[in-house]
């Protein structure tokens, strides 16, 4: 994606003059990114489609599934109709009509009947997802002799997420999805040779918005 293209999209929605950005708010910037990634001028290709062409994930792999869903995603206004008994929330698409079943734990907990959201949703099987409140966390340790990794998320109701003990035969690596209701520092402690090492990274969460 070129800088001039990004600035042109920012200008379209009043967040820039074509040369400079007028905002550093990350929610507003997310909207500019959304336009820049998922839309294109007539006769041009979308950035998401160009990205998809560059990659060749194995068919039916999770990555291929998600990429296909993102390519087919749509931006619209949605009104909450009801919370599903099983999981997720039923939305009415106010711009295109029809009902959409959205599976998103953040919205499931925070959405009220009748509320209206502007968001991008991506279809996966029978339901759609946003990219809000479930955050994938991949951790690994390059410290020799790492025997355990511990994950702590400061602002969660249950800050201690997990502890993984690695024995002979396993690499100190793990990837898992966790619930995050709000932006927080995520800390990872590594145990190696009786010592503890810590690494911290802030993870931003935008409930019910795409791109957190």
């Amino acid at each position: 994606m070129s800088r001039s293209n990004f600035l042109a999209h920012a200008k379209r929605i009043g967040l820039g003059d074509g040369k400079r950005l007028f905002t550093d708010d990350h929610i507003e910037l997310t909207l500019v990114y959304d336009l820049a990634v998922y839309t294109a001028k007539r006769g041009q290709t979308r950035a998401i489609d160009r990205y998809a062409r560059l990659l060749s994930h194995a068919a039916e792999s999770d990555k291929a599934l998600v990429l296909a869903a993102l390519c087919a995603s749509r931006f619209s206004l949605f009104r909450v109709i009801e919370r599903s008994e099983l999981a997720g929330v039923l939305f009415e698409d106010l711009m295109r009509g029809g009902e959409t079943w959205l599976v998103d734990e953040g919205l499931e907990q925070s959405a009220n009947l009748g509320e209206i959201f502007a968001m991008r949703v991506a279809p996966i099987d029978a339901f759609v997802v946003t990219c809000g409140a479930v955050v994938p966390i991949e951790i690994s340790s390059a410290i020799a002799g790492t025997t355990a990794l511990i994950v702590v998320i400061d602002n969660n109701p249950f800050p201690l997420i997990a502890r993984f003990d690695f024995k002979e035969g396993a690499l100190p690596f793990v990837k898992v999805n966790v619930k995050m209701g709000e932006t927080s520092d995520v800390r990872v402690l590594a145990e190696a040779g009786g010592k503890h090492y810590v690494a911290t990274k802030e993870v931003k969460v935008t409930i019910g918005g795409c791109g957190g």
Binding site: A87, I161, D165, F166, A170, V176
Partner: protein
Amino acid sequence: MPGPMKMRATLGQGFTDVRVLMTHPMETGQRKDSDGKLVPLHFIQNLTVKVNGKPVVEAQISQAVSRNPVFSFRLKGGAKGDKIEVSWLDNQGETNSTEAAVA
């Protein structure tokens, strides 16, 4: 009854990549159902990864891990046909396990 598990173990460059999906509600104990009653805490507490019967990863996890969690682990080396077994135990005493051979 615990739901199904799915696992895939593939050889990477110098390691074995293990991905496992567990069907589990991972209830936080804070969510209310449609009648306004709290849904009881129900989450996987322990999980174990074994290679050819030998435990290599033991984890304790909390209710903050997402519903129907997918975990990825990496094991040193490995060979085609190695038997990987993953099992879990939740706070209500339910347990489940699955096996796969490294492909």
